[in-house]
Symmetry: C2
Subunit: 516 residues, 2 copies
């Protein structure tokens, strides 16, 4: 049995049975080993950004890591932007990056790169396999690291360690993660602050705290104490709608974010960090909470977050669950020409129960979050690190993790183009995804940022860098070119018809929504 | 005047007037400054791999660097694979990578990354701008470095250094590169070896030695001494056809490469390194030249290569230019069903004079190189670092550098998908490029490599990772979706008709050639 075989067995023995892949020559033995294991599902991405983004979406919904298979340094490089998002989301992930045989590296063949250097900025753990016998232990270490933090673990697999014979030995099983249980004094301190602060107290729920047990506990605390509940600017995954406790998302624009937090005296961080501005601007602050606010770290990712939140609720005697139910979405505003807001209203109002929403709508999707709070119960996923081009892959991965649920991907056109190849994977795997493209033919967010910089008149160079028309992108043609059925909506009525019809239809479908 | 203005002025003052760009928020002041300078041509790529690959193609044909504009670490990461190719080609390039304002970095906002760490593996020089006053000197240093080695220079521009006021000062002009003049003893030694070796002597011409003065000198030496002339496995840019001295390209497969070099006793390297296997394989050598061969380094990139070759020819008394002329391409084999070889024959036989050929045909294009040697005079560009996905961007950049010449891009389908977004830039800039897609719906090269590994029967996982059908990619639809006119050829006759018609038609056109 060679190293590659033992790698596959270690992945499978540890519950990793999906591998998002874009292989190359140095990974052929690994491909052959995967081919001998029908229990492993290999999902091809036609570009590595699709591979890593899909692994992120998979893990966010499956709550366990997938593997990725990437080809040497350039293959890893192509996947780095979405690894960056995964790192910021603390998504568990095990990347297998092939490399040259060790004895071939000194010859500096054309594909030779410093893979460690490339991997480290976007990985929590990087480890190079040292021998065929080291493959299984190294993989188990990577799996443990991915699950434990959680985080992004990258394993570099030189070809000779994949093809070399490994001694027979038990396949290692990675230890279960042991989350750190928060000290009672920390819980008590947070409880005291929140009890005293009332409406001037806030819980900022990030990572896994924005769903499940933690979210429920937060809802009870809010009912009991008046505590305001906040979600991060970019939400990893939150359970929303259907009467779930609502999180106020901290707005992206600095001024709005500061305004949202200005009446907060105590902000308790739960699997979240102190909120900061996405970019620094002349004369604007980096920290979003007001200077007088006390920032209290309750529990971080990797801590026993749910346990901490349960104990916090108990200390606050917050027993009664809020009785809210889905209050519906007001559709009265959707008459007239198709706009981003009309799309958001329709999408929110008719969201299927238990949908998974992937929102990379950026400026066009800004209305959706508030609207959908009153809609059906759903999971809500965003890009987390600001590296655009995650929406389509994230939807692909989420759909593979949860084939029982509809995925609605709200996608800005400019960022959608970054990883447009993911549409093909959706078609090949026949994934139940409805892609909605907000087609405004512009990097609209950058047009706003230019205005923030004081530029209101654009000359040729700015127009050419910030507009995507001339020629317009035809998303229907592109989607069909990759095997995804698609249609175009230029009116509100047409969009509503297509959206409702697409929701009833299984498999991938794309609506190109033409908006101003 | 702010730092961004001074950056633009420094680029322009040093002859850099094309900027391939995909900007983001942290580069808005730079975009505004570019917008104030009509002399700068800004070319938008909808993905950063397009941006860096286009800058490579531009510089290879313009023989001077372009600038790129990339958005923070993830934007750079998306461009790294093609920067890797550029680094291997030693292409002069000045990358401007925006970063957060320095005072915002400690807050570790979501987009914060270690840009230096990401840049170094694929850059020859990395430099962070230290202040608004440092922008112009730093840019001049980067330009000098790009031109001098030549190579890839990456300049990190924190937003506050772009928007900050800079003192009035003269715009610096980078010194001209000073190539190292090769010692006469080195020339003499190489001449002695080649004179003695006759047909068992070889010149390996890489980089700029595969064209112009060096290539001519090599042709005279071959006539005089019988010296064999080799090109690298992956050719940066070579002038070919129309009776130019022909280079035997060292084959990609290790066995064929060793066979090609087995009768060589002396191999003189000119702007090239000793040839090594692209990958290491069990039981196969890393070095391609036979163990008995003497390897003689005459001149490296950055040396006065043309001067060295002229002096080498003079020492060998190699005065008579070979009198070869284009001998034509035998088209007799093209009857019957459409195959990769039929495409190569037709493409080579009807190549327009002074075409620029960008060849990322990989396995499908393997016949073209030998066939086109007898065809019209052309420049021939390949991917140089093995990071696939450079073909479409390289064609875009070459077409911008030389709008007077037809670009013929021979493109494998799998690698074409990596940077398919480049088609849109070809449409927007109305570039005179004929894209020929070898559509075999497979990573055919990897199917061969699997067989090299001893796997002849593919089960589901291997099939799913190595085949691109199910669904098939519809390149005509994708191209039209990005504004490029396109047509499909399923027979040899249809391909020939389309190819000839497309050559007569200015502007971008894509032929999807369906082959087994």
């Amino acid at each position: 049995m060679n190293g590659a075989d033992r790698l596959c067995d270690t992945l499978l023995a540890n519950g990793i049975d999906v591998c998002f892949a874009n292989p190359g020559t140095s990974e052929m033995h690994f491909v052959a080993a995967l081919d001998r294991r029908a229990g492993m599902r290999c999902v091809l991405g036609l570009f590595e950004g699709v591979v890593t983004g899909a692994a992120d979406g998979y893990a966010r919904m499956a709550e366990r890591p997938a593997a990725t298979l990437l080809h040497t340094g350039p293959g890893l490089a192509n996947g780095l932007a979405n690894l960056h998002n995964a790192r910021r989301a603390r998504t568990p992930m095990v990347n297998i990056v092939g490399d040259h045989a060790a004895w071939h590296l000194p010859f500096d063949a054309p594909l030779t790169t410093d893979i460690e250097a490339l991997a480290r900025p976007m990985s929590h753990v990087v480890r190079r396999v040292r021998s065929p016998d080291d493959v299984a232990p190294a993989a188990a270490e990577a799996i443990a690291a991915a699950r434990g933090t959680p985080g992004v673990a990258t394993l570099i697999l030189p070809a000779d360690r994949a093809w070399g014979d490994a001694a027979e030995a038990a396949i290692p099983v990675a230890p279960e993660p042991r989350p750190v249980v928060i000290e009672e004094s920390t819980i008590a301190a947070a409880a005291d602050r929140l009890a005293a602060a009332g409406r001037r107290g806030g819980l900022l729920l990030g990572g896994a705290a924005a769903r499940g047990t933690s979210l429920d506990a937060a809802g009870r605390i809010a009912s009991r104490c008046g505590t305001r509940l906040f979600g991060e600017v970019f939400i990893t995954r939150s359970e929303r709608g259907g009467g779930r406790p609502a999180l106020e998302r901290i707005p992206y624009p600095v001024d709005l974010a500061c305004a949202a937090l200005e009446e907060i005296d105590v902000l308790v961080l739960v699997s979240a960090r102190e909120p900061v501005a996405f970019f620094g601007y002349p004369g604007k602050p980096s920290r979003l909470a007001p200077p007088h606010a006390e920032i209290v770290a309750l529990a971080d990712a990797g801590d026993a977050v749910d346990d901490a939140m349960l104990r916090l609720a108990e200390r606050l005697d917050a027993k009664a669950a809020p009785t809210a139910s889905a209050r519906g979405v007001d559709e009265s505003m959707v008459a007239g020409p198709l706009t981003d807001q009309a799309i958001s209203v329709i999408a929110a109002a008719h969201l299927p129960d238990e949908a998974i929403v992937v929102d990379e709508g950026l400026t066009s999707g800004r209305g959706f979050y508030a609207l959908s709070e009153g809609g059906a119960r759903h999971d809500y996923l965003m890009l987390t690190g600001g590296a655009i081009g995650i929406g389509i892959p994230l939807a692909v991965g989420a759909a593979i993790a949860r084939p029982d649920r509809k995925v609605v991907a709200l996608q800005a056109d400019g960022s959608g183009m970054y990883t447009v190849q993911g549409l093909w994977t959706a078609a090949r795997e026949n994934l139940d995804i409805l892609f909605v493209i907000y087609s405004n033919s512009a990097y609209a967010i950058l047009r706003l940022e230019m205005q923030n910089v004081g530029v209101t008149h654009f000359d040729r160079n700015a127009e050419r860098m910030l507009r995507l028309d001339g020629p317009p992108l035809d998303w229907v043609a592109m989607a069909r070119g990759m095997g995804v059925e698609a249609a175009r909506a230029e009116t509100t009525e047409r969009f509503a018809d297509l959206y409702m019809a697409a929701l009833r239809r299984p498999g991938p479908f794309l609506i190109e929504a033409i908006i101003p």
